[in-house]
Amino acid sequence: MDWSIAKILMQDGLVTGVIYALLAVSLVLVFAVTRIILIVQGEFVTYGALTFAVLADDQVPGTRWLLVIAGLLVFARELWLVFQGKPAATLIRSALFCLALPIIVFFAVPAVLGTTPSLWIKALMTLFLVVPLGPMLYKLAYESMADSSVLALFVISIAVHFVFVGMGLAFFGAEGRLVAQPFFDGQLELFGLNWTYQSLFVIAMTAVIIAALWLFFGYTLYGKALRATAVNRRGARLVGISTNMSGFLTFLLSSIVGVLSGIMIVSFISITYETGFMIGLKGFVGAIIGGLMSYPIAAAGALLVGIIESFSTFWASEYKEVIVFALIIPVLLILSVITRHDEEE
């Protein structure tokens, strides 16, 4: 292998690596705030990617049904909670989010699709179709278990992953999809390599999303509330930060990140209903490198995963998954040597 191939491999690895990094940051965020190991993060990617791919083919995605059904379930649960004594005033917001939004989206998507919209509009529709599923999922599967052990929440995540994979096959079929049209056409030369505008766009978008997250957590009240919850859940609750609110918000953020990643990644990797799980797990390898605590190390680790993956595709393509997942063994070994058993409650 010579330097020019190495450079190309680096470039490939970088473009997928930034997406893994995005997911790794989101996984660390969800874990810090809610203690949930969000295996379904990868399914947000799949659903975003495949919904976008279906829309790009000018078809109406089946996920609009899922949105309406999930909305109905969440609303039914809210009704039940009101019946149990929750203030009825909260129902108005629930009705807007769980009934009005899904129904509007349900009818708007085919209508807008009839006007042959641009790829950007389709990306926006994808966000509206898939992102609300994140918070709805939190309400249905996690909210009433928010105080359970990390491991119980983990088992729930795995169960939810099963449900999403099963439904993914039903909605999108078994074949992989790729969106051939890029957001930007053309390429330019940089560091002796050809970069498509699309890949630069992916890198720039990732930077923008990470900056946005940083601004949100540094400068908004809700962001600070989430940070407070991550540091000390009980303390946060005592000063009036509701666990439900922080869970809802965290899942909203993570589904936005997942869906955006999906929209970006489907332009250069063929995505099937199962791919998201693997993509999410690679984000996890990065997150584990950061000890599920440090955002920058997690992001750097995930970049490394992308690059190692691209090099192992070149050297031993059959064993690339083996190499990537085997990475966590030395990482865990190092972690167990350096981690002292801290006091847990």
Binding site: I156, I158, A159, V165, A174, V322, F325
Partner: protein, 614 residues
Amino acid sequence: MKKWSVLVFIFLLALLPVVPGVPEFWINQLNAIGIASLVVIGLVVLTGVGGLTSFGQATFVGIGAYATAWLSATMDGSPWLGLVLGIVLTLLLAFVLAQVTLRLSGHYLSLATIAVCLIFYYLYGNMPFLGRHDGIPGIPPISLFGYPLLQAQSIYYLIWLVVLLAAWTAINLLDSRSGRAIRALKNGEKMAASFGVHTFGYKVIAFVYAAVLAGLAGWLYAHEQRAVSPSTFGINYGIEYLFMMVVGSVSSVWGGIFGAAVILTLKDQIQDIAPRLFDTSTNFELIVFGVLVVLVLHHAREGLWPIVTRFFYGSERKAASGALTQWWADAPLLPKTDRPPAGRPLLQVAQLRKEFGGLVAVNDISFSIAAGQIVGLIGPNGAGKSTTFNLITGVTPLTRGSIVFRDKPLQSTKAEDIARLGIARTFQHTQLLPQMSVLENVALGAHLRRSAGAIRSILRLDRRDEAALLREAAVQLERVGLGDCMFELAGNLSLGKQRIVEVARALALDPTLLLLDEPAAGLRYMEKQELAAVLSGLRDEGMSILLVEHDMDFVMKLTSHLVVMDFGTKIAEGTPAQIQQNDKVLQAYLGGIDDDVITDEIAIDTTDNNEVRV
């Protein structure tokens, strides 16, 4: 499960294949359930009881299956050699994984099991000598006494014999000295460590045990199917095994078998019905299993098995296994350690200091305890008593200072080794295992006084040690006056009684020094009187006691020496009479006459006036 129901179960199992007209399909289905049950029995011990979640048991099934497939189909070896190879490889992998992950928080193990399961899946799929994605066909059947188990009916008996043996070993393991340690891993790891339980070692034992059962299941699977391919050892299968445990039972071995039966029957039914309802090829069972597990975790945390048993046996309260018979009542008493003669210095604490960031929780405390003495450590809330307590017991690492117990330095000793030296403690927030009987909880305290290991427990060769431990627990319970509730579940006792059980458990260690963290809190007047009588009795036997307590009356009557702390600093030391007259103590408890003095002290002692309690 009750004895007669087990017998009925075994009888029905044995009879089924010989009943005329039973379709072969049933037998095959039962074979699959039996093989899965083996994996699930391991998971009940590892995950349900031990609290260590593995999504990757399919890895070990795969190793067991591929080892024997390669050896017997490719290399023409005996299936029995294949079994040995499979178990050896399983042991190796499990041991390495355990070393890498079990020192970290539990979710790292879970993530690692997912990763390892994927690694092996791709390895099988790409290794030429394992047949890549096609796997290895043509595996010979297992031969028993020259008779090859070719038919589904014949291997059926082998499979279920192994399952019943595995269930027997799991029940034995859980009902033993090792079992109590494993049962403490989930919610009482720190407590167990403070009684000398080597918790890491028991995590490894649980993990390796579950892995070996899974490897065994793989061996049976390979010779039952007569072919192996990577797809059945993928991560989805690993997850399914865990789901069987969650749906079945988190604590009962029989419940685990039930869970395997529920999931596999459901899977079969769904794969039968779903294609008729939907024209597409949907993985409908994934959706059903996912929803089912979420519902079970929301509404039946213990799994469905308790609901089934309640249906059959009614809701009578179940006492801990084998306890009611008191079969251990004639066991010889455990030998006691020699106590140092009264008056000899036992524990010396010098310049003990603990800082949490900028906050000095314990500020250069010094005091000592002589043999046969009850020393009280008192002070208002937030004085740093409990922190001092945790420093001495090795739960919290100290910033600096020295602790010397019988001429041995303690400051860098771990909690489990401190117990070995003969120091026992109670906890301010009682740390009993609510699902275990009072007797078993106390027997955990005697853990170090006998050595029966996991293998002896599994084979039921530990009964002499076990009897001695239970007898000791019973003796200590009688001593503190709780002899009549030793078979209750600990979680059903009142808080006051739970505190006394804590004392009994500490006594079961046969300590030289007893550290009591607020033992009288929440006790009624009469209970306090009784506790005081027990403690002064212990002192007369030569036991030394350090007592952290709020109840002044209780402390003043019992102790011969008092150390008073406020805001992390020792403000006074002396006999109860001296302390009662001490101005600083009165000020600390009742508020000062001169406010300036207090403000001065706060300024010296702490940089922050947060309350520190552990």
